[in-house]
Symmetry: C2
């Protein structure tokens, strides 16, 4: 077979994989938004079947043959990078013995449902045995996959390829010192915002109207996506021209839906603007969890919590908002949406304390995987760190170690991406300011300029570039937490008169 023919056949295989994925993603969207309850049982069999198909394809002999035939031989850069991705996936999946993988998948889904119960009851002991087994599995897997310095690197690589435990230790320790000091200052400030000013009944339809308006202004393409309602908001690229976001409406607190929609909208812009040359390859998606999160956080925080943004949009907001908001002063409003306050629950945390929540998780999971601590000690260690970093101590594990589903799903190594997203976003924001008059674009609602810049620098590449490659190309340097610190310091010094 000529190289051209092999390339053609390999492309067909990639298309096949994408066809299963698209079916699966549509089902996931459907399950979380529209699907009737009783259809779930049969539906999960279909989901299992399709997932299995993808797994089998990715580890097939055919796949191995294509990798061997094309690696270092194809001149097509998209195919070359696709081969690289497929090889990574092939190795990752092949290295785990079939039987162990099956046991792990079963354990994972049981642990997730036990977690629901444990969290409801605030009883960590229910989850403990499952978590112990999951940690054991993940330690074994990490050994199969291999690593250079720290065993945790093997897991981290799944979510943030190229980022290491060594790097994280450095940036997180620098960041922690700065953040805890800042939070301390904020706590002591006597010039506090009043978030109660925001808590008025705000009808769902009106919140939806405002959310749609902002999405439109951001350049979200409604002919290539939609907005729906759900319990847990998410964004999903069913294909690059069918990217759906969901949001949740709390009629007593509009912040949930408005900032949530903008956040998911940031994810969606990434998926919608991937270069068409990458369609139907494994490269047609965000390059890492962290870079993805940098895009959502960019829009949520650097745009939609910015003072200039509200100078332009406060009137629009008021045109959707009920009468209680009409006399609210701009200053009170702006400061209230930027309240900083140590709290127990990560997903409710503000932009200053958020990274501290992540560090607690990172340090604990790294030590778990490294074999330095035991699962049974997690609740106590968690609470100690909360007290240490945030100055508060959960009374129930429900507000502590049991709050996130990630570990019960076997997702160790995932959490750092959230904090990386903040740092990437701040660093990208800083780089953007050197090239664009970002402040004025935000102030004047010229979001398309920002969207285009991000599209050119980040979105279009999909997985063609690794996360740190993107960061280097966009900002001219490696990961540097000082941009986040500078941004927070400047912003909150003003808000809290520090």
């Amino acid at each position: 077979m000529t190289i051209k023919e092999t390339e053609q056949q390999f492309k067909e295989l990639l298309k096949e994989q994408k066809a299963y994925e698209e079916s699966l993603y549509l089902m996931m969207w459907d399950l979380r938004t529209k699907a009737p309850r009783k259809g779930m049982e049969l539906r999960s069999e279909v989901i299992g079947f399709l997932s299995q198909k993808i797994h089998v394809l990715s580890t097939s002999d055919q796949m191995k043959q294509f990798i061997d035939a094309l690696k270092g031989k194809t001149n097509d850069p998209v195919l070359a990078k696709s081969v690289e991705e497929c090889e990574k996936e092939y190795n990752r999946n092949k290295k785990i013995p079939e039987q162990e993988y099956k046991e792990y998948v079963t354990l994972q889904s049981r642990a997730e449902s036990v977690w629901t119960e444990a969290r409801e009851k605030g009883d960590f002991s229910l989850l403990q045995p499952y978590l112990e087994k999951l940690v054991d599995f993940k330690r074994k897997f990490a050994e199969y996959w291999g690593y250079e310095k720290h065993i945790y690197d093997a897991l981290l690589d799944m979510y943030e390829p190229g980022v290491t435990t060594e790097t994280l230790d450095q940036v997180f320790s620098a960041l922690r010192i700065e953040l805890t000091a800042l939070v301390e200052k904020v706590n002591q400030s006597s010039h506090k915002p009043n978030p109660e000013l925001l808590q008025h009944h705000f009808p769902k339809e009106k919140q939806e109207g405002f959310s749609l308006e902002i999405l439109k202004r951001m350049g979200f393409d409604f002919e290539a996506g939609r907005l729906d309602e759900t319990v847990h908001p998410f964004a999903i690229g069913i294909n690059p021209k069918d990217v759906r976001v969901t949001t949740r409406y709390d009629e007593e607190d509009f912040r949930m839906a408005v900032f949530g929609t903008i956040h998911e909208g940031g994810h969606a812009l990434y998926e919608q603007n991937i270069d068409p040359s990458l369609y139907q390859t494994p490269l047609a998606g965000g390059t890492s969890m962290g870079i993805h999160e940098s895009q959502s956080l960019f829009w949520e925080n650097f745009v939609a919590r910015d003072e200039g943004f509200w100078e332009n949009h406060f009137d629009v907001f008021k045109s959707f908002a009920p009468k209680e908001f009409q006399d609210l002063s701009f200053d009170d409003f702006y400061r209230a949406i930027n309240e900083v306050k140590p709290s127990f629950i990560r997903i409710e945390a503000d932009e200053m304390t958020y990274a501290l929540h992540i560090m607690i998780r990172y340090e604990l999971e790294k030590a778990l995987i490294g074999g330095e601590i035991e699962v049974k000690d997690l609740p106590r260690l968690w609470n100690d760190k909360m007290e240490d970093y945030l100055g508060i101590r959960p009374e129930s594990d429900r507000d502590g170690v049991l709050q996130d589903i990630h570990w019960s799903g076997g997702d160790f190594g995932y959490f750092p991406s959230y904090a990386l997203g903040y740092m990437y976003a701040a660093q990208i924001h800083h780089a953007m300011k050197k090239e664009l008059d970002v402040e004025s674009f935000i102030r004047n609602g010229q979001f398309l300029k920002i969207k285009e810049w991000l599209g050119n620098k980040v979105h279009r590449y999909g997985k063609m570039k690794q996360p740190l490659e993107i960061l280097k190309d966009v900002t001219g340097e490696g990961l540097n937490p000082s941009y986040l610190v500078d941004y927070l310091t400047e912003k909150y010094t003003k808000i809290y008169k520090l």
Copy 2:
């Protein structure tokens, strides 16, 4: 391999087929309700891929081996019937040479888009060459498939297995005589209803509210289905516990949505109440187009256009309806929703003239496939028959031969099912009355009694019984058009004082 093992493996194959089908059906629902426009291009590739997978499975050597190994050998009645269905499908698909099938599929999809243009322009000549080729293909296919008496039987069998041209000729000619005479009488009646009384603005949300209320009362299980909005209403069983109906809201004419929803709801009850022992087999669906239509028409006409139904529901209706409806008398309302009037468009036809529309199509397509007439003569022949049966002649082919998409999609043999549905429904209604006090159940809104009866007699069997088997078991006799004639005569004699 033991027979048990073969059975087990065959079941796995059936499940696999169902998994592809479920993915495909969800995509179809999504495309017609929610999917963003620009995602269609990539989506259609996925749809093509999944359809191809199903086609390949159904004609695979593996399938053939299972059929040979299990036919007449398995003791499991569900598997035995499944083997029968699979064999039918295998033979049907295998008999057409691969190359011809591909050409046909391409032609079909091109013809459908040409049809859209031809209809818009009212220009039959655009479609004619495509239709000629499609007829040629279908004649060839019919020869491959084989038939006993009339070539058209081979096509009819796809939609209404067991029903023959001979039967249709008999029942349709009997029915035509009665219906044309009845329509003639109605035309001459001076006691005509006034449908203008119904044409007031009726907000979409209110129509939706009433439609949902009726669906609920019919016993539609909202935990196993949903109602959405669409351009062309339909019902689809994604799986038997995920059956979705759609409707269209015309704010100037509530009849579209209300009767449309009830019609699709009737289809949905069939799919929702198939016996669980048939799940994940090819038997988990309606047994034929005609029996399916009998279920939708039963609810639409025999229930929701019944006088007793409105005696109970007119107040409910008014509670959703705008003020213009509040002073409408029950009698004016009931007669208006049952107006009979010869009209050009099949899908807008009333229950008395509908079957005449079908007969025109049946006679023409039978003659086309039989080689007795030519495609180029269709417009003239169509108009002649319209004048003959309904006393009106279309001025444009848009209101004549170009109105339906079926022929452009290669669907010859499909139309009779619609008329069969009416006859089946009337015959089932008559049989039901012998066992149940239907009139009183409808009058008192005890629809669940009716739903249960249909569930027991029709729904649960899925494809375990052929259409005429169902009819015989339920009514004790073969197809008999006199029940439809009696029903229409009695009802409209009263409404029109004939």
